[in-house]
Amino acid sequence: MKISNLRKNYEHFALNIESMEIRPGRVYGIIGQNGCGKTTAMKLLAGLTPPDSGSLDYEGLTPRDITMVFRKPYILNDTVVNNLVYPLKLRGITPHNGELDHYLELAELAGHREAYAPGLSGGQQQKLALVRALIFSPKLIFIDEAFSNMDIESVAKFENYILHRQTTHPTTWVIISHQLSNIKRLCSYIYFMYNGSVDAHGAAEKILSSPENANLRRYLQHEGM
C-alpha cells in the first residue's frame, strides 16, 4: 500500500506522515519512543480512524483482507474456541477441527478450548488474539505490541512461526514493538518515528547497525544496544 501526506491532529498531538510504502509479502517494523505516534499511525493505516487529510492507497486490498492486533486485545465474552472461530463465522466458513487444534496448539491454549476467554491471563489473551487474527489468513496484518505480555519462549515461538509462515503464505506485516530483538528477527524494513512523523527509514540491517539519524541513534542507545 502507498501512503502520502497523511495528517491527523489531536489537541496535543499532530501526526504527519509524508510518505510510506508497504510492499506485499514483506515484514515492516515501526519503532520510536512512547507517544511518538506509532499506534495513531497504525490505526490510520489499518483504516480504523479516518485521517484529517492525505491519501491511503490499498492497491486492491479490501477491509476484509486487513487486520490489526492490539497490545490489549478485545476478547469476546465467550469461550476460547468461540473467540478463535469468530472471524471464520463472519465469513460463513466452517472450520475443520485440525485447523482449530493447530492454532490452539500454537497459542498453547489447547487445554483451554472451552474456557471462558476473558478469564485468561494477559499473555494468553495476546496469544489468542494473535491466532484469531491469523486463522482467516488476512493479507495485511498490523501488530501493535501484541507480544508485550508473552513470555520469552512464546515470543520466540511466534517469531519462528511467522518466519516459517512467510515462506509458505507470504503475508504483509507491519509490526510495532519496543523489543528490538523482535524487530531485528522479523522485520526487513524499518520506519523510525519521532514526534509524529517518520524521521528515518531503511533496510533493517543497515538502519539498525549504523544509524545516521541522530534521534534514531539516541533511541537505539537508550534501548540498550
Binding site: L48, M68, Y86, L90
Partner: protein
C-alpha cells in the same frame, strides 16, 4: 383477623402486578435498548442536550409522571377521549414513561464505555455493519440485562404514579404496592407486611432465576 384481601383476591392482585410489570418492562426495553444503542452511535447537533434530558428523566419523580399522565388522560384532557384513566393501560403508560429513560440511559452509558472498542475489533475481524451491530448488542448483553432488571425492579416497586393514574380500584387496578399502601392507611399492618413479604419474594425469585439462567459472570479484574 379481618381479611381485606381474600386469598383469591390476593392471587388476582399478584397476577395483575406481574402482568403490569412484565408488560411495562417489555415495552420499555423494546424502546429503550435500541434507543440507547442508537444514541451512542449517532452524532448530531443536539446530542448533548438529548443525553442531559435523558439523565433528568431517569430521575423523574414517579408522582410527577403520574400527574402528567393523569392530566393527559383525564376526561377533559387532550387524550381524554381514549377513556383510559383508571385502567390497566394507564398504569402501563405511566410505567413505560418511567422505565424507558432508565433503560435507555443505562444502555447508553454502557455502550459509550465499550462500543467504540467493540466496533474497532469488529472491523479488524472484517465484520460488515449488520454483523457489527449484532456483536455490539451481544457483547453488551450483561449491561443490557442489568438495565432491564433495574427497570423491572422499578416497575415492580413503584407506587406513586400508578396510584394516581390507576386509582387502586379493586379487581381492576389494585396492585401489590397500592394494596400495601392502602392496607397501611387502614391500619392493617399485618396484611401489609404479609403482602410486602410476598412482593419481595417475587422480586427476588424473578431476578435470581434470570441471574441463574445467565451462566457466565463477566470478569471485571482489569489488572492482569
Amino acid at each position: 383477623m379481618l381479611d381485606i384481601l381474600h386469598d383469591t383476591e390476593i392471587i388476582g392482585v399478584i397476577t395483575l402486578t406481574l402482568r403490569m410489570t412484565l408488560l411495562s418492562t417489555f415495552i420499555s426495553s423494546a424502546v429503550g435498548i435500541p434507543a440507547g444503542l442508537l444514541l451512542e452511535r449517532s452524532d448530531f447537533a443536539g446530542k448533548r442536550f438529548v443525553v442531559a434530558l435523558n439523565r433528568t428523566l431517569m430521575a423523574s419523580p414517579p408522582v410527577v409522571i403520574g400527574l402528567v399522565v393523569y392530566l393527559l388522560l383525564m376526561r377533559r384532557g387532550p387524550l381524554g377521549f381514549l377513556g383510559l384513566l383508571f385502567t390497566f393501560e394507564a398504569m402501563v403508560v405511566a410505567q413505560v414513561l418511567l422505565l424507558t429513560p432508565i433503560i435507555c440511559g443505562m444502555v447508553y452509558t454502557a455502550a459509550s464505555r465499550n462500543a467504540g472498542r467493540i466496533r474497532a475489533f469488529a472491523q479488524t475481524m472484517g465484520a460488515n455493519s449488520r454483523q457489527t451491530h449484532v456483536l455490539t448488542a451481544r457483547e453488551l448483553s450483561n449491561e443490557i440485562y442489568f438495565a432491564v432488571v433495574t427497570g423491572f425492579g422499578r416497575a415492580m416497586s413503584e407506587v406513586g404514579a400508578i396510584m394516581i393514574v390507576g386509582g387502586n380500584i379493586r379487581f381492576h387496578t389494585r396492585t401489590m404496592t397500592t394494596s400495601i399502601s392502602m392496607l397501611r392507611n387502614q391500619g392493617e399492618i399485618n396484611q401489609a407486611i404479609y403482602l410486602g413479604a410476598v412482593l419481595m419474594l417475587i422480586a427476588f425469585s424473578v431476578t435470581m432465576t434470570t441471574d441463574f439462567l445467565r451462566r457466565r459472570e463477566q470478569r471485571t479484574d482489569e489488572n492482569f
